[in-house]
Symmetry: C2
Subunit: 190 residues, 2 copies
DNA sequence: GACGAGTCTGACCGATCGGTCAAGGTCTGA
DNA sequence: TCAGACCTTGACCGATCGGTCAGACTCGTC
């Protein structure tokens, strides 16, 4: 602690990222200061900012993999429509939410504002397409309402049941999503 | 603006509360400063703090009616159990969420942290009982997972569809909640 | 031993936060 | 006319925020 470099320390970067994930998930992005993260790691705030350009860079690196997988899901859904797209969207989204539930917990409630940051500009469009797919071809707002309940409720449940094993959480959520989503209107797809 | 009292102004209190509701709903409790609220009202920050003891007092007064109705729902559920409680919980909660969707939008994502404030201590226990009722008597975590999806998803959908009339939003959400919730285990209640 | 690259830190910066306060204005009623 | 309740304000406070910077320490290499 008194010397400039106590340990060999190539893993400081990862330590900081892990601590940031825990703190963001616990108290939110805005509710967590760089000082909080530094305290959890056991280093100074300046060290955090040596490894990451700024606070946003922490969030961007944290969400890199989940957003990559989200983009893959988006690409897969692009070539589908109707009931097939709705089914694939539900399965893909539940999968994503379960796999990355620790990272997704970071976004709790701050999702809309965080999306306004330029680094996440494309996520806005992707999540809109995902909502459309989940809503199906149902006329009226019922489909979109159900899609939103799933889109918001599933990540929240994931964040709450972080310690439940994937094999238990995933099928339960998928079953809920299937039941909640309004079936695609058969009159528009014969 | 230049004089000490431009308008007759007994409604300043209400104006501030309304502005706070809008700002909190748009950018969250922590994401809204007293300055933001004052700007929206068209008065000084000091005026806001003349009408409300502090920032938390704004939130408390804002949530007073919704929390009152929540407590009534809690009392109604206390004398029920099993499928009857589950049914009543779903109906009561959807009703509450739709009626007070503007106020509930304020809590978006900051719900857990806001509950730690002493003024909301009792809400913690009430929402836990509500979750239990929604979960039903289902063995395993499936019931609780479904309850959490509903508990988190319904308010989010309400906040998103603020402009949809109640008569359209309520039945749609109630239908979704009924489908999503796992039926109470009949083996524990014959 | 000298040197440069990499790592870490305390001290510091401007901005903004929630909140206080004295002063001054308007109004009502005696 | 004047006292006092009521309302509003700008100036100010300490704390905390994200972020900068010069310096100090540890290395591997020449």
């Amino acid at each position: 602690m008194l010397d400039g470099m106590a340990r060999p320390m190539p893993e400081t970067h990862g330590d900081i990222l892990a601590a940031a994930t825990r703190r963001f998930a616990a108290t939110g992005y805005r509710g967590t200061s760089l000082q909080d993260i530094a305290r959890e790691v056991g280093c100074s705030k300046a060290t955090v900012l040596y490894h990451f350009a700024n606070k946003e860079a922490l969030l961007v690196e944290l969400m890199a993999r989940p957003l990559e997988v989200l983009a893959e899901l988006d690409a897969r859904l692009a070539v589908l429509d109707g009931a097939a797209a709705q089914w694939a969207a539900a399965e893909g989204f539940v999968d994503l939410a379960v796999r990355f539930r620790r990272e997704i917990a970071v976004l709790r409630g701050e999702f809309p504002e965080l999306l306004t940051q330029p680094a996440f500009a494309h996520v806005q469009r992707i999540s809109e397409r995902l909502l459309d797919a989940l809503a199906g071809d149902c006329a009226g707002p019922a489909g979109r309402i159900a899609a939103l309940v799933v889109l918001a409720g599933v990540p929240e449940a994931c964040a709450e049941f972080v310690d439940l094993p994937d094999e238990e959480l995933r099928p339960a959520l998928l079953s809920i999503a299937r039941r909640a989503l309004v079936p695609t209107d058969p009159s528009t797809h014969e």
